[in-house]
């Protein structure tokens, strides 16, 4: 206890000393650092969508050291507040700004118009301009691979999927997962529960419990918390994590996880700003580009399954395998992808139907 108080007193003293020192920021030798801004839709936390972006931010700091200075603003609502934060970052000297949620699309475009010398990077949107790029991962590739794992490991043939909103990104993930699942286990079913919230551990937990009660022996999620993996751990079923490696929350439950890796992209784009070679682009990187990666396998996954997944991973990375290759039927048994065809990127981006094997419908 006294140790704590001592520590606190020391920090307090340090703070007061900082107050007395002149408030001139120390500049590294060789000019001003490049300022890099990030806008997050939730708190960073310990896992999830935003956490992965923050890992990317930290990788930028590691890669460039004192040549860059990063600033992140957490929990920026996707409404009227977003434009203010983005503008503020641009006005305070950030030369490249990553806006990491779909709802920032229109504000990013609007602010970018007034700051032509600043590079903007919007994750997951479809509007671009001269100084606004878009970027996203082909997360469906990771979903397909984890679907293979689930198909091999499920005994009941029922997999529970806790999902936030029926937007194309989520629907694509459910479909790819189901295609992978049924590629190795043609009778397996996916049951989806919608939570209508990206982050609501309570609701996600309830959904997980309900899915287990319906016979699911593997759970996965497209929400931002670790509640589903924790529920699986507690109830003794398997789980497949998403966004982040969640093995910390389900050391026995997690078979693997489909994770996002923004580090390479962020480092590349920041370097381009430094080198003055940055151009507005549209990036959709997958396993091959390293934007999507599987977390290490859990102990429960046997070597045969690991080998299968490694083979398919290589096939996807080399472009020999596309998860959305026909024949694929939707869950009303209508053929949506003819035999031998694959979905185009444009079709994937706006996908609004569920493949056969998924129980449920999408709101129209």
């Amino acid at each position: 206890m006294t140790g704590m108080i001592n520590r606190f007193a020391k920090r307090l003293a340090a703070g007061l000393a900082a107050l007395c020192a002149a408030a001139v920021p120390a500049l590294p030798a060789g000019g001003q650092p490049l300022k890099v801004g990030f806008v997050y839709v939730t708190p960073v936390g310990d896992a999830g969508w935003t956490y992965q972006h923050d890992l990317g931010r930290r990788a930028v700091e590691q890669a460039f050291g004192r040549k860059v200075e990063t600033t992140a603003v957490e929990s920026v609502a996707e409404g009227a507040d977003a434009a203010r934060v983005i503008r503020e970052l641009a006005a305070s000297g950030n030369r490249i700004i990553f806006t990491t949620s779909f709802g920032y699309m229109n504000p990013t475009i609007a602010v970018a118009r007034n700051f032509p010398a600043v590079a903007f990077e919007h994750a997951s949107g479809y509007k671009r301009s001269k100084n606004v790029s878009t970027y996203l991962g082909r997360f469906y590739e990771g979903r397909y691979l984890t679907g293979l794992v689930a198909g091999k490991m499920s005994k009941s043939g029922i997999v529970g999927y806790v999902a936030a909103f029926p937007i194309p990104e989520v629907v694509r993930g459910i479909n790819a997962f189901t295609l992978g699942l049924r590629a190795v286990n043609p009778k397996a079913q996916v049951r989806v529960i919608w939570t209508s919230s990206w982050y609501d551990p309570g609701k996600e937990r309830e959904a997980a419990e309900a899915l287990i009660a319906q016979g699911a022996d593997i759970l996965t999620q497209h929400t931002d918390s670790t509640a589903v993996v924790q529920a699986a751990e507690d109830r003794g079923v398997y789980a497949i994590g998403y966004h982040s490696d969640m093995s910390k929350y389900g050391p026995r439950a997690q078979l693997t996880a489909s994770t996002h890796n923004w580090a390479n992209y962020y480092i590349k784009r920041v370097r381009q700003v430094i080198d003055k070679t940055w151009r507005s682009t549209d990036t959709w990187g997958g396993i091959g580009e390293g934007m999507v990666a599987l977390a290490p396998f859990g102990d429960a996954v046997p070597e045969t399954v690991r080998r299968l997944v490694r083979e398919k991973t290589a096939a996807i990375a080399e472009g020999r395998l596309h998860p959305f290759t026909g024949p694929v039927r939707d869950n009303n048994a209508v053929v949506r992808i003819a035999a031998g065809e694959t979905l185009s990127d444009a079709q994937l981006l706006k996908i609004d139907w569920l493949v056969q094997g998924v129980t449920g419908t999408l709101p129209r």
Partner: protein, 360 residues
């Protein structure tokens, strides 16, 4: 010997003025401890939090934009709270106002004209009123607790908005993302008042509402009836004032103003309907109403303070690289000091003895 809180016979006028100063003093002390412990310059942090956002025209405009929905929601709630009517559902009434006002803009797609914006404003207000009327009617007819019904209806409205933007009202060119078309920028949006800022005509709605509610509560018989109903329900009943009328009126006013707030958000800053419209203005307005001591002018100042707290929190994150959690703690402390100091208006601290307490 022990510290005791004793009710004052009469609310202290002196304390009414002193309590904000006490709160400000405590906040500064807290800032020194909190930011000092984190190794940041406390004065710089205070400046970044409370002053820097106000040093530019853009910053002032942002303050007004952020305060607008808070003023509108909190004014409506303060009327009800004075009349002992507990509308907790301003967030839902705001959402329905946004849906109705935005719905008019979407319906008019391709046939916009000068009439569109007025029609959206009327639709927003009426939508909020209608949604507010539900808990009022349930209370008057079935004596259902309005705190519960108005709160639960909030979640219903948010789900309904989600259904609309992912379903029937989804933008056909929007890659199936949950959002509607953008409203017409000429006829379907509140005009920008200051070039180079986002300040839109929604602030006029807020200012007008302050005046109207002030007149209503201090200059009309209806306002008097609401007040008596809240402070002395038996006296009100004896005088023949209808409490049911007060309930309905409070909810119509609160709902209508919250509906306007929602309309002003979608037609002012956002420009379309999307799954998230308000980051909780309807709930923050409950705090604002009490922070403003349920008085229209007080509500105005409290809204500005609250909005400065939000913007200052962002400013701390951006300029000093403080995490959200720290700014949240600081905002919470500030609020705690302000509301805590207000207790001293009605109570005083005395050094009571244990014995006296035992006799009581």
């Amino acid at each position: 010997m022990r510290l005791k809180l004793e009710p004052r016979p009469v609310a202290s006028k002196w304390m009414g003025y002193a309590s904000p100063l006490i709160a400000a003093g405590l906040t500064v002390i807290a800032a020194f401890i909190l930011f000092g412990a984190l190794g940041k310059n406390p004065l710089l942090a205070l400046y970044t939090f409370a002053i820097q956002p106000l040093t530019s025209l853009y910053g002032l405009a942002e303050l007004a934009i952020k305060a607008t929905p808070l003023v509108l929601c909190a004014l409506g709630l303060s009327v009800g709270f004075r009349g002992n009517v507990w509308n907790i559902g301003a967030e839902g009434q705001l959402t329905v106002g946004a849906i109705c006002g935005g719905g008019v803009a979407l319906w008019a797609f391709g046939n916009e004209g000068w009439w569109l914006l007025p029609a959206m404003i009327v639709a927003g207000a009426l939508g909020g009123m209608a949604y507010g009327a539900i808990p009022a009617v349930l209370k008057n007819r079935f004596n259902a607790n309005e705190i519960l019904t108005s709160l639960m209806l909030t979640y219903v409205s948010i789900q309904f908005l989600g259904y609309l933007v992912t379903g029937p009202w989804r933008d056909p060119e929007g890659f199936n993302f949950p959002q509607t078309r953008l409203f017409d920028t000429e006829y379907g949006s509140l005009p920008i008042l200051l070039e180079g800022t986002r300040l839109h005509a929604g602030v006029f709605l807020a200012v007008a509402a302050v005046i109207v509610i002030w007149v209503l509560m201090s200059r009309t018989f209806t306002g008097f009836q609401i007040e008596v109903g809240g402070q002395a329900p038996h006296a009100a009943a004896y005088a023949g004032y209808s409490q049911k009328r007060v309930v309905l009126l409070s909810f119509l006013i609160g709902g209508g103003l919250a509906g306007l707030a929602g309309l002003s958000e979608v037609a002012g800053s956002i420009g379309q309907l999307q799954p998230v419209i308000s980051p909780g203005y309807g709930f923050a307005a409950i705090i604002v109403a009490f922070l403003g001591r349920l008085h229209p002018l007080g509500v105005l100042f409290a809204s500005l303070l609250m909005s400065l707290m939000y913007i200052g929190g962002e400013s701390l994150q951006m300029n000093l690289n403080l995490p959200l959690a720290v700014t949240g703690v600081f905002q919470g402390l500030l609020l705690f000091f302000v509301l805590g100091s207000d207790v001293l208006i009605r109570y005083r601290i005395t050094l009571g003895s244990g014995r006296r307490e035992a006799q009581v």
